[in-house]
Amino acid sequence: MRNSILRRRRTELVGGAAVLLALAVLPLPIGDVYTQNLIIITILFAGLAQAWNILGGYCGQISLGHALYFGFGAYVSTLLFVRLGIPPAFGMLAGGAVGGLGALLVGWPCFRLSGHYYAIATVVVGEIGWLLFLNWDFIGGATGVYVPFKGDSWVALQFRTAKLPYHYLVLGFAAATWIAAFLIEGSRWGFAWRAVKDDFVAARSLGVRIFPSKMAAAAISGFFTGMGGAIYAQYVGYIDPDSVMAGALSILIPLPAVLGGVGTLWGPLLGAAVLIPVSELSRSYLGGSGRGVDLMIYGALIMVVALARPQGLVSLFGRRRGGPDARAA
């Protein structure tokens, strides 16, 4: 049994490397800037979904307030850059740290809540954060923060029109989240959480200490989400509470993971690869008419995928490991 697990893990690692390589060369023959942008946004959201997946998928804590950590990361990194001149290459680590800290602070009192109450609590905390930021003049309030362009630079994570550097930046980010998920999947925590989802009482009786492991998951998830926020800020060049902290974003972050396959390694990427292009392309080529057709397509797609593939799109590619999921989260 142990050998087959190891073999599977090795296969997955090889698969991961192959996908990484493929994505690394993907943009090279593509000259169209819009497509490059589409790929960047897709990979960024794949990374964010994977970061969420660590807490929401593997650990089973359905957080619907992750935009809070994303926003923390975006604001910390950007303000450090704009006010103190600290380049985002370092700022994003600080952003990640604040994101992780935020997740810990939220997790500590809220993990004791069961499923839906926990989810609403995360929504509420997210809303409070967004409202506070909207009204907090020190960080710019509703006016937002412009990221001044000071020339192409890897340290400042800024490039005038070049897309390739951003592509590798988000690819590195997504790869890091994938590796984190990979490691967690094979770790004691990963097994413990799967045990908890199947039978909470039995898991406890085995001496698994759940709470500290959940806190760790929160910290890791929050850290990566914050880093994603910092990267986003440098890519878009302007942030305000509505675009980096609003509740709608908190729903969009886990969506690729849920549709791709929650608690799986490839689910988030698969889900992002389907959802983001559909959303972006339908807006770009159908949205201009203002008829709402793009929304209808997007909504219908979510419903269809959720119903047709409840284990997620990964189930299209073979057996789902790890048996049936627990009762409703």
């Binding site: 809303e127 009204n135 929650v262 119903l307």
Partner: protein, 291 residues
């Protein structure tokens, strides 16, 4: 900050709170029955508002008279949503909780797009009717008639829901809520109960929508303005508890109104959010939740 300002704000909060309560009631009903958090609840309300507006525009009748028609339509719509979508979502073997969340979320986006497609993005308003734009003044306190009517209707709706809970159907609902796997043994068609439950939940939010349309604008995104409040109300009251929805709705309506007096009104929702967190940290299942 004089007493009559506080009093007026408190009354406004009460009136609004009853509307929140009714919106939450439908949500709580559906959840209590089958463990589904309906993320399209706000959009169902929006559809009810459009139904009221269109019927008013076409017939010129008072929206209060149109209420029964819209209720019936919404009941049917709720059953339709269940049969067409939710029943399928419930039959999945994996990940049921998440599938429900995101199926209804997809439905919400779809309905919003469809509303924009059908009606356009304009803000519509019902401008005539027996309560439209009228206010009663009693002892220096202003009671806007649309909100008063809405509150009375909401109370009546709650009474109705209470009555229904005493009937055989209500008992079947309760039984299904308690143990949805075992009810088949006592001859309850679970599927039919679920469909009726969805119909009831949609009808409840439909009533709230029609009453809202007598004083609130109608647009494709209007559901989002009430959604967060509705979910927090349900959670605060306790998922599955109708009484909880009533109490929580009133509480949240009050807190929101009074917070706007004390803090900058742009922060008025912070009050209800803090209350939710405070309550749930001591009572992890909300005020009256049993699930």
């Amino acid at each position: 900050m004089t007493l009559d300002i506080i009093l007026q704000a408190a009354i406004g909060g009460l009136l609004m709170g009853l509307i929140y309560a009714l919106v939450a009631a439908g949500l709580s009903l559906i959840f209590g029955l089958m463990d589904v958090v309906n993320f399209a609840h706000g959009e169902l309300m929006m559809l009810a508002m459009y139904a009221a507006f269109v019927l008013w525009q076409v017939s010129g009748l008072d929206p209060l008279l149109l209420l029964p028609i819209v209720v019936v339509v919404m009941f049917g719509l709720g059953m339709g949503v269940y049969r067409g979508l939710i029943a399928r979502a419930l039959s999945v073997r994996f990940n049921r909780g998440m599938v429900q969340i995101f199926v209804t979320f997809g439905l919400a986006i779809f309905i919003r797009g469809a509303a924009q497609f059908t009606f356009g993005g304009e803000f519509r308003s019902i401008t005539t009717g027996v309560v439209a734009n009228r206010t009663a003044e009693i002892a220096g306190v202003f009671l806007p008639l649309p909100q008063v009517a809405a509150s009375l209707v909401c109370l009546a709706a709650f009474a109705g829901l209470l009555l229904i809970s005493r009937t055989e159907f209500g008992h079947a609902l309760e039984a299904t809520r308690e143990d949805r796997d075992a009810v088949a043994l006592i001859g309850i068609d679970r599927d039919r109960i679920f469909a009726l439950g969805w119909g009831l939940g949609a009808a409840a939010v439909g009533i709230a929508g029609v009453m809202l349309a007598t004083f609130y604008y109608v647009s494709p995104n209007v559901g989002a303005n009430f959604a967060i409040t509705a979910y927090v109300t349900v959670a605060l009251g306790g998922f599955g508890s109708l009484g909880g929805a009533l109490v929580a709705g009133l509480l949240i309506g009050e807190v929101e109104a009074l917070t706007a007096l004390v803090l900058e009104p742009s922060l008025k929702q912070v009050g209800m959010f803090v209350i939710y967190l405070a309550v749930v940290l001591f009572r992890p299942r909300g005020l009256f939740g049993t699930l």
